[in-house]
Symmetry: C2
Subunit: 370 residues, 2 copies
DNA sequence: TAGAAAGACTATACCGGTTTAGTTTCCCCC
DNA sequence: GGGGGAAACTAAACCGGTATAGTCTTTCTA
């Protein structure tokens, strides 16, 4: 039953022809194995349940032979301590949380999270931890979600992705006392360890690559500047231009969505003096840009060079294949998970800097014709 | 702490240069609010805790005025029943599970799950349920994951996606007594309700559309035939050809991945008599096919028409925009979640048939040039 | 008007672990 | 050989709810 339901109309037996009946009843009543609890193990081993608990948790004060015997009995009986009981007494849930606040469209076209999550899982699963995922539509709901995750004790720690400027989640989580790991370094003070893949070098390398090819009018289709990585990539873009001795480039801000990337591209290319190269803040937008270029009859890479960011699978298979920057979301997930576990175990954890994202040159970049 | 940890060093300050310190200590010690439990509410309302529980759960046997008073007190004190305690005594977790067994690459390029999950969440969140997500690399791990989800009591029910022929998960879950909902109708007997978006009409419509345009050599890049929707779309393709009075078409089986889609396309197009149209089993492969066509100098849609399946965001923005079949993963997620909740509440739930996927005609299909 | 039945509520067992406060036993040492 | 202390273990409280059995009124019934 839901938390405290006024009208539990949740589900009323639709009186229709219900050929289906749940598997529960059938299956559960058959075997009905005599639940083995810590009590049973204790009795069988001839000790108190407290001692079984001690033995299980490797605590001092248990004679070596006794410990062995207890564990032996536990194994024989196939006993696994009840997560629920343990949760109640330890006040922990043995689960970690990830809250994603994104427009479903943007989320859907962005392959970051599936890979990231796969990485996270590869660490959590062997540790017996679960991942609780929330996908919420807006920031307000997001904060509420964190509050209720804590209130319900659903998770022992969370991953903080898509950092924003002056991110309100950081003080919130600090106040709630919920351990967290940030994906990237926040711009303000933070009590949490950061696991970072520096994206600046990758973006700068993209620009440098284009400059070396001879491009002088390079534009940037940036992501949302409220997002830290959005504005950071934008800053890296600007810095790289300066470094290359090029004039300031045009920048169009978007929300990272495919549609916005397409629109931005149209705007850039339909000017009197369009850029000869565009650096996109992510791959989906770059791919949309490629489509738009085709539509406008602008040839890539002959008339226009483009670069993306993320190196999603698609990049290799669009035509021409996309020059992009390769982050490693799966490794990122692994590192973030390890760090969060360490933080929870030790009460502190060091920041982790993963290898910076690298430029991968493919066919979408070439010297400008002129 | 892991399941059974050697040293219960829960939280010791690692003596390293720890500029970070966990937020826990700091935050928690400040306020330290005197935990409000059911006991406190009971005392304050001058009743027993049992009665508070009854009032909360809308059970008979509580005088109306008393109920009101209790709930009033509960609200004043800001009491929310402890999920953990409740879990222990009700033997439920108030969470639902989704286990995804996919190659991370395939998963990453497939926007189905993010959208589906967003739909699921929109139903679960208001009900106070959480979603536990597992991403596993292979089938063996997948089955193990279900077992341990049940053993740990992590979830009260699960979503079964990517149905396979003679899917082993169905008997397993039945045996485990875990309520489930299948996404689509399984091919064997199943005790579980199915929530279905029929994909056959969409695929048939694609073929019909191509046939109407005048195509006679239509090929199919199919998904894995171990997957039900893979082989079903393939069957629909074949049926549609027959219905249109066309000869059997070439079919290449893939694993649904972008790379495989690309390879399959190359193989098809480099034959002596290549097809004039290709029906892809999903959009990512179609997009890869588009790229390959470009690479081979095959113009779309002039020399080759292509169609996809799913109507992912990209379709509108590649060039030419992709004719595809629009499923509605978010609505699917909502329906699946509602059905699973209903099943758990009532012990049974009816199958749900969502509106069949529809063909969306865009620029990637045109009459074959003669 | 006794007696049964219903209604409101309490006391308490229970879920299955962890943890603290004792208790026993054994050993060491002066 | 008696006191001190550590080691090994037990008993019971505790986490915070739910559920069951039972108590005490009040009301309906025969």
């Amino acid at each position: 039953m839901p938390a405290n339901i006024p009208a539990t109309t949740t589900v009323k037996p639709t009186a229709q022809s219900t050929t289906k009946s749940t598997a529960k009843s059938a299956a559960k009543s058959v075997a009905n194995p005599p639940k083995v609890t810590i009590e049973v193990v204790a009795k069988r081993a001839g000790v108190s349940k407290g001692l079984v608990s001690f033995a299980l948790n490797n605590r001092p004060g248990v004679a070596p032979e006794t410990r062995v015997r207890i564990l032996q009995v536990a194994k024989e009986l196939g006993w696994k301590p009840s997560l629920r009981a343990r949760s109640l007494s330890t006040q922990r849930s043995y689960a970690l949380g990830l809250v994603i606040a994104r427009n479903p469209d943007v989320l859907a076209s962005d392959p970051f999270f599936p890979s990231f999550i796969a990485g996270v899982e590869s660490i959590l699963a062997p540790e017996g931890r679960a991942l609780v995922l929330s996908v919420v539509p807006d920031e307000e709901t997001e904060l509420k979600t964190y509050r209720s995750l804590v209130a319900d004790g659903r998770v022992d720690g969370v991953f903080l992705s898509d950092l924003r400027h002056g991110d309100p989640r950081i003080p919130l989580l600090a106040e709630l006392g919920l351990p967290a790991v940030t994906l990237g370094r926040p711009d303000g003070p933070s009590p949490f360890p950061a696991v970072t893949v520096d994206d600046t070098p990758g973006v700068m390398a993209s620009v440098a690559h284009l400059a070396t090819l001879g491009h002088r009018r390079i534009a940037h289709v940036a992501g949302s500047s409220t997002l830290l990585h959005g504005s950071r990539r934008r800053a890296a873009f600007a810095a790289a231009l300066r470094e290359a001795g090029l004039p300031e480039g045009q920048t169009v801000e978007t929300d990272f969505s495919v549609g916005a990337g397409s629109d931005a591209t149209r705007r850039l290319l339909t000017q009197d003096t369009p850029p000869t190269a565009i650096v996109y803040a992510n791959d989906p937008m770059a791919i949309a840009g490629l489509g738009m270029a085709h539509e406008l009859g602008v040839r890539v890479p002959d008339d226009l060079s483009i670069t993306g960011y993320d190196d999603i699978d698609f990049c290799r298979y669009v035509y021409p294949p996309l020059t992009t920057v390769s982050a490693a979301p799966m490794a990122w997930g692994r590192a973030a998970a390890s760090t969060l576990l360490a933080l929870m175990e030790n009460g502190s954890a060091d920041d982790v800097d993963l290898p910076a994202a690298r430029l991968v040159v493919r066919g979408s970049t070439a010297p400008p014709h002129g």
